[in-house]
């Protein structure tokens, strides 16, 4: 929407409406009016001519009354017969003016009145009266007034008085002043020449502020409410009017504070935004309009931001450029930069969310450019903002979700610069593919081989349920129409029953998917898909949801979506500077991408173990074998220490890239340490299993520094080893060590930090073991294999929730936070909410089915995201925890019990706070992958190692860990990958979608990751008898959700520019809406209930069988298991859909036509 177009109608309207009343009495007779006017003027001028400075209040009253009358008459006077074009001031074609105006001009009436007032000293009362008078006059006048000096001068005199420091404008008059200024600007917008007059005829004494109206308006830019809006509207009119006036533009840019005030005002407003966004609903990940409409500080900020955007849209290039610079240098760099690097997770979440919102709200290219430039180029403590944001993806909290959401927004811009930095620059040298394969980069999936490969990865256990419905739904529509015999006239033999139904297929696409039925009479070639009779876009949520279980509505839908995605993306990229096809830009001249950063924690959460290993191989003093043993020991020790703590690790990265790992629980419990047993003190003395977290730095420092620095992928090298070593004994020192590490760039720092830090799981031990096998294999496919070995252990990684549980109570005390409750989103969603209630009956039933045996889940109403709602108190929890620990320690004698132990210890934690937990459960894969990458690198080829960049690495890591990710993370994650796969650039396309590509062994391919996930899902399914039933229920639940949400959709999306501001990650039928209704009571309740569903789910779990005898743990344990099962089952659903999506994308790429470059003329 154009702000300006919204503005312009306003003037005339307001005017005409106000015209009605006063104009009636006087329309009668111009002559009479003139006589009346003259009469008033005589009396006024009599008063004015008294030179007595101390005129009485009677005089004042008299003058005021007469002036009122006179100005009313003036305002109502109609101009004479117009011979020239109206408004042509500078030329000689001024329309004849009315007699009253003529008199006003010749006698300089207004000037004398105003001067009289000024001379006798302007009291607020008469100042207000004058402001109102002029406002009325200018707003209602029937003829243009401002081009007459006799009107303009006194007006400027009055305004000048308002601008004077000693008089100024009392707050009570601000409304009148702004209204008057607004009126002036409206008139000016109608007669642009007035601007020049205003500009030139400024009283000399005002010097630099010679565009008075402007400098008067600027202070109101960021005001709240109507007055701010009027001021902004007025300013915008000035901007638009001055867009072609170099002089005024220069004045604004050089002599006014407009741009700095506007831009730095953003900074001020930003600082008053809530630092914590408190949401219920575990799926929340982005601010929608209805979310922030209720938060006044955000509204203020967004108003100003939108105003900036509008100014940039209409203003003169000079002003535009200056404003953009100020936004960059005055807001983004000094405010947004540090905000994004705040140390508390809540603040990181908030700032990331805000940045996402801002990016979605900005429409002007040059402003977007400033934002992107900031994100891509600005370095904060040596890291670009992009680097920092990338690290957040690997976190395992809501921070991950909001970061994913931000990246989704970024990707939707289809910005070449961004894609270059994120992915393409790493692929440009083509070192990730075998040399002989480079020519294949441009190949598309001509014969469906890649698609077939993707589809083949759908686990068999997930096919069961689709088979039935596929038969029912798809077959008749798609497969049924086999061509019997193509054409009898065919002179050449044609086998009957050929499966070729291209044309048929084309036809059915539209019918197969719903309402998208282009009319046969469609004649507009360019708008085929959505014909005139199909107002809905193909992916519109309004798609009729087929009845029944067909949420997996089939491949056609995916093809359609894929086509649309590919088409839009390649259209958007048509003006990129290069095709990125492996030849242009040339791989040989492409600059080497930055190596895996050593200081950037994003790539490796705990790859130290592996890089450590490699470092040994690279020339360490110890033999590789020994080191490997040491690594294993380290990993194990870490593991065992994990038993005591919740198994979470905070990775703190100091300035010098030294990483310290701190068990999360430790940190959380710092303040309670004197009360409870400080965890580190429990450590078994046994050195083989160093329990202390600080042991990790210690171990890491064991190899020589030189070796460490040689590590390619090593995230954590550098000279910090010594310092780290200092911390090796005694976990009590952990805190201190962290301080020593200096200014912590990474947010994990303070005690206050919560669950969102980049945290490392104790998984290394497992992955290490498998990695070793893998390592010896030494080829790429091994990666998948090795990770396939992981699934059995995986469950242990769901521990994280405890972190959020424990941290939440504390954070609740924070003062400023934004609470998004169901009600908070009400502005736009009230009705949908209601609908949801109405329609939720079926859903309700499904849910109860899903949760059968879960007991009355009403306790869950409390909003799962809110730990306050949990029934279990922290005290009780801690108690239980300690008991558990004790038990665990007893068992921990045998190494073989490790796994078991781990589960025991963790599950109690994880069982606690169900809803946030799913989000937390997914961190570890990244570390594994990074480790894998590091290990896989052949030694001795340091800098040319293929490296696909942190973005791909972190996404793949996250993906590999899909089974533990929450549903919502998976939806976002697969959505982003799907989005990436839409990009037509052969480099990217081949990397993601060409399953036949042979990559360098050290490069993990998407297909490998997917294969690994498949393996895990199958392992999981095999270990759960009722997997099919659960799968079915999950599908039904998601389908039901989708329906409920679709019912809301008529309310429309937030009016942000990019309508997909909400993530539509999966199929509309699946994902779109799961995320849409973030505060859905249904979902909240569902999640809460699921948390209590342990009774049923726990019964089948393997580990609970192991611990059947256990007394107090069972509840928590089962909850954890339930959560784990839930995540895994949803993952299986999402995974299958994702594969279909990828397959469809591969196919659509093969049939998509490129758009021609740069023919933007018609835009």
């Amino acid at each position: 929407m154009s702000w300006l177009s919204r503005l312009t109608p306003r003037g005339p309207e307001g005017r005409s409406s106000r015209n009605v009343a006063p104009s009636s009495p006087c329309t009668a007779d111009p002559e009479t009016c003139l006589m009346v006017f003259e009469n008033h003027w005589r009396q006024v001028s009599w008063v004015l001519e008294q030179q007595d400075p101390s005129s009485s209040s009677d005089d004042l009253t008299a003058v005021r009354n007469h002036t009122d009358q006179m100005l009313c008459l003036l305002a109502e006077e109609r101009p004479g017969e117009c011979e020239g074009p109206p408004g042509a001031v500078t030329s000689g074609n001024v329309p004849p003016i009315g007699p009253i105006l003529d008199l006003v001009v010749s006698e300089n009436v207004l000037e004398r009145v105003v001067q009289w007032h000024l001379r006798r000293g302007l009291d607020p009362d008469s100042q207000g009266a004058l402001l109102k008078l002029f406002e009325m006059l200018i707003g209602q006048s029937q003829q243009p007034l401002l081009q007459h000096k006799a009107v303009l001068q006194p007006l400027l005199g009055l305004l000048g008085a308002c601008a004077e420091p000693q008089l100024g404008c009392p707050p009570s008059l601000e409304n009148s002043l702004v209204l008057l200024l607004n009126q002036i600007c409206v008139s000016m917008a109608r007669a642009p020449a007035v601007l020049e007059l205003l500009f030139r005829s400024a009283p000399a004494q005002h010097g630099p502020t010679n565009l008075l109206i402007f400098s008067l308006l600027v202070p109101f830019i960021h005001r709240d409410g109507a007055i701010g809006q009027q001021a902004r509207d007025a300013l915008l009119l000035v901007m638009a009017t001055s867009a072609s006036n170099q002089g005024v533009a220069r004045y604004i840019a050089e002599n006014s504070y407009f741009c700095p005030v506007l831009a730095t005002g953003l900074s001020a407003l930003y600082s008053s935004l809530p630092r914590k966004i408190e949401v219920r609903g575990d799926d929340w990940h982005a601010l929608r309009r209805e979310d922030w409409m209720g938060v006044s500080s955000l509204v203020l900020f967004m108003n100003s931001l939108e105003f900036c955007n509008a100014v940039i849209q209409v203003a003169h290039p000079l002003v535009r450029r200056q404003l953009v610079d100020y936004v960059h240098n005055g807001f983004l760099v000094p405010v947004m930069g540090p905000a994004l690097h705040k140390s508390s997770v809540d603040e990181m979440i908030a700032s990331t969310t805000y940045l996402d919102l801002f990016l979605r709200s900005v429409t002007e290219t040059s402003l977007l450019k400033a934002f992107l430039r900031f994100i891509l180029m600005h370095r904060h403590d040596n890291d670009t903002i992009l680097d920092t944001l990338l690290t957040r993806i690997s976190s395992n909290s809501r921070l991950c979700m909001v970061s994913l959401s931000l990246f989704r927004t970024l990707l939707s811009l289809n910005c070449e610069d961004l894609m270059l930095q994120l992915v393409l620059r790493y692929l440009l040298p083509c070192t990730h593919v075998m040399l002989s394969q480079r020519r294949a980069i441009r190949d598309t999936d001509l014969y469906g081989k890649s698609a077939d490969k993707f589809l083949s990865l759908i686990p068999d256990c997930c096919r069961l349920s689709t088979a039935t419905s596929a038969e029912r739904e798809e077959e008749p529509a798609l497969w049924g129409k086999v061509l019997n015999s193509p054409s009898s006239e065919s002179p050449v033999h044609h086998k009957p029953s050929t499966p070729s139904r291209l044309a048929l297929f084309m036809r059915q696409q539209s019918t197969g998917g719903g309402p998208c039925t282009p009319s046969p009479t469609e004649t507009i070639p360019s708008s085929p898909g959505a014909g005139p009779n199909t107002p809905l876009s193909p992916d519109s949520p309004m798609h009729p949801v087929p009845e029944g279980l067909d949420w997996e509505s089939g491949y056609l839908e995916y093809l359609r979506d894929a086509r649309r995605g590919v088409e839009l993306c390649s259209w958007a990229c048509r003006n990129w500077s290069a095709p990125y096809d492996g030849e242009d830009p040339s791989p040989n001249t492409a600059p080497l991408p930055p190596p895996p950063p050593t200081s950037n924690p994003s790539l490796a959460m705990f790859p130290e173990h592996f890089s450590f290993q490699q470092g040994g191989g690279g020339g360490g003093s110890t033999s590789p074998g020994q080191q490997r043993a040491a690594v294993v020991a380290a990993a194990r020790s870490e593991w065992s220490s994990t038993e005591r703590d919740s198994g979470e690790w905070d990775v703190t990265i100091g300035e010098n890239s030294c990483i310290s790992l701190t068990p999360r629980t430790k940190k959380r419990s710092l303040q309670r340490e004197d009360v409870h047993l400080p965890k580190p003190l429990h450590l078994p003395p046994d050195s083989a299993s160093l329990p202390d977290p600080s042991a990790v730095p210690h171990l890491r420092s064991a190899p020589t520094k030189g070796a460490q620095q040689a590590i390619i992928n090593g995230t954590l090298l550098g000279g910090q080893g010594d310092r780290c070593r200092d911390s090796q004994d005694g976990g009590m020192e952990v805190k201190k060590v962290k301080r020593e590490l200096g200014e912590q760039r990474h947010p994990a720092g303070g005690d206050s930090s919560q669950n969102g830090e980049v945290s490392a799981c104790p998984a290394p031990a497992q992955s290490c073991g498998s990695l070793q096998g893998f390592y010896s294999e030494g080829n790429g496919s091994g990666a998948a294999e090795s990770s396939r070995g992981l699934p059995p252990h995986k469950p242990s990684h769901t521990q994280t929730p405890s972190a959020s549980l424990l941290s939440e109570p504390r954070t609740n005390s924070s003062n400023d936070r934004l609470t998004l409750r169901a009600a908070a989103s009400s502005p736009g969603s009230g009705p949908p909410e209601a609908m949801l209630f109405n329609q939720s009956e079926a859903v309700e039933r499904l849910i109860s089915e899903l949760l059968d045996g879960a007991g009355p889940g009403e306790g869950g109403q409390q909003g799962p995201g809110d730990s306050n709602g949990q029934g279990i108190s922290i005290e009780a929890f801690t108690q239980e925890l300690r008991e558990l620990e004790d038990r665990v320690r007893e068992r921990s004698k045998g190494v073989g019990l490790f796994r078991q132990l781990e589960e025991t210890t963790r599950d109690p934690h994880s069982g606690e706070p169900p809803p946030p937990s799913p989000l937390d459960a997914d961190l570890m894969g990244s570390g594994v992958v990074a480790g894998v990458v590091g290990v896989l690198r052949p030694l001795g080829q340091p800098s040319t190692q293929p490296y696909t960049g942190p973005f791909m690495v972190v996404l793949f890591a996250k993906l590999e860990n899909m089974l533990q990710n929450s549903l919502y993370v998976n939806i976002l994650l697969t959505g982003i990958l799907g989005q990436l796969a839409c990009y037509p650039q052969p480099l990217l396309r081949s990397f993601l979608l060409n399953t036949n590509m042979v990559f360098q062994p050290s490069v993990k391919s998407l297909i490998q990751v997917l294969g690994s996930v498949k393996g895990r899902i199958e392992t999981f399914a095999a270990s759960h008898e009722d997997f099919p039933a659960m799968l079915k229920k999950a599908q039904r639940y998601l389908a039901a959700r989708g329906k409920v949400d679709w019912a809301d959709s008529p309310m429309g999306m937030p009016t942000l520019r990019r309508s997909d501001s909400l993530v539509k990650s999966r199929k509309p039928s699946l994902g779109d809406l799961i995320l849409r209704h973030t505060n859905s009571p249904t979902r909240a309740r569902h999640a809460a209930q699921l948390a209590l569903a342990h009774v049923r789910d726990g019964g089948q779990s393997l580990h609970s069988a192991l611990f059947r005898g256990g007394s107090g743990v069972s509840g928590l344990e089962k909850q954890a298991e339930a959560l784990r099962v839930k995540n895994a089952v949803y993952c299986a659903v999402i995974f299958s859909e994702f594969l279909k999506e990828l397959a469809a994308l591969a196919q659509e790429h093969a049939v998509s036509m490129p758009f021609l470059q740069r023919h933007d003329t018609e835009e």
């Binding site: 290219t365 977007l368 430039r373 891509l376 180029m377 811009l413 070449e416 610069d417 961004l418 270059l420 294949a440 190949d443 598309t444 001509l446 014969y447 469906g448 081989k449 077939d452 083949s456 497969w479 049924g480 193509p486 054409s487 044609h494 029953s497 050929t498 499966p499 070729s500 044309a503 084309m506 036809r507 696409q509 046969p520 469609e522 070639p525 360019s526 085929p528 898909g529 193909p538 491949y555 086509r563 649309r564 839009l568 958007a572 003006n575 990129w576 500077s577 290069a578 036949n996 042979v998 520019r1057 309508s1059 397959a1143 093969a1150 049939v1151 036509m1153 490129p1154 758009f1155 021609l1156 835009e1163």
Partner: protein, 312 residues
């Protein structure tokens, strides 16, 4: 000329085709193809009035078995898309003077027309049909059959079939000189494409080959008596062109048919053809902001373009 507008607008022609016969003339191209809705934007083909939609007979099971590969239910998609992709490739190749259009009834049958612009066969307009084996891409090379047997050494004087096989002795085989064994599938299959067959069909008229002819008479004449050969060719071209306006040989709504120039119909179509700019299906203004790039061509540095691009 730009093929995009061409293909897109032709949908329209396709629709009209049934009532009004289209014709030929100078601007043959545009009527050469009725709708090919598929490529690119894959719009729903308009259904000619006389086209009888195929009803759904066969059982799903039967179809599924036809699928190539492990995932039977998706198999048909692969064939459909392979052909669609082949067709896309044809369009991308912008073969001079050749136009094809898959049939309405079967994607394995493409109608085509070839315009010979110089050489012995100058001014020839030959309609042909491409038959793609239904085990494509594993089968043999597609066959090209001219509607009217052109007098040509490589064209069967009776059936009108062009000897394609000689040029593609091993369809889909590894091209000589290439030893890409890394991935057999990609390497093996990516070589031969239907557009090459079409290209070959065109080349044949410019470079006459008399080896192992299907039409020995033509071959002998070409070798022994070029003048006579030439006059026979001219006769053949005339014959073909005289049948240009005939009803298509095959009763298929997408069969290529010619009609004489009718300004009422064709001017507008031509106009649209030339002015059309392809856009994404549901492209709307909201997308304008996307597709940003400040990368200077030739550079791989972000924001390397001139900082202050010309402002509007």
């Amino acid at each position: 000329m730009n093929l995009n507008p061409f293909w897109s607008m032709s949908t329209n022609t396709g629709r009209k085709r049934s009532d009004c016969e289209e014709q030929s003339g100078e601007q043959q191209q545009q009527r050469a193809s009725p709708a090919r809705p598929s490529f690119g934007k894959k719009q729903l083909p308009s259904i000619p009035k006389n086209a009888v939609p195929i009803t759904k007979p066969a059982s799903p099971a039967a179809t599924a078995q036809l699928a190539n590969g492990t995932h039977a239910s998706y198999g048909p998609f692969y064939l459909e898309y392979s052909l669609l992709a082949e067709f896309t490739l044809v369009i991308k190749q912008k073969l001079p003077g050749i136009y094809v259009q898959p049939s309405y009834k079967s994607a394995l049958m493409w109608f085509g027309v070839i315009f010979i612009r110089h050489g012995l066969y100058q001014d020839g307009v030959f309609k042909f049909t491409v038959y793609i084996p239904d085990n494509y891409p594993d089968g043999e090379c597609p066959r090209v059959v001219f509607d009217i047997p052109v007098f040509h050494p490589l064209v069967d004087p009776v059936s009108g079939e062009l000897d394609v096989r000689r040029a593609f002795t091993k369809w889909s085989s590894v091209p000589h000189g290439l030893f890409l064994q890394l991935d057999s599938d990609t390497a093996l299959r990516n070589h031969n494409h239907i557009w090459q067959v079409l290209m070959y069909a065109r080349t044949v008229f410019y470079k006459i080959n008399t080896m192992e002819p299907l039409n020995p008479e033509a071959a002998v004449l070409y070798d022994k008596d070029v003048q006579l050969f030439k006059s026979k060719v001219i006769d053949s071209v005339k014959l073909c062109n005289s049948h240009l306006f005939d009803q298509p040989k095959m009763d298929d709504p997408y069969a290529i048919s010619f009609s004489s120039w009718n300004p009422a119909i064709h001017d507008e179509a031509k106009e649209r053809m030339f002015s059309h700019k392809r856009r994404p299906e549901d492209h709307h203004k909201g997308l304008q902001v996307s597709g940003l790039s400040w990368v200077k061509p030739g550079s791989t540095q972000p924001f390397s373009k001139d900082d202050n691009p010309p402002l509007s």
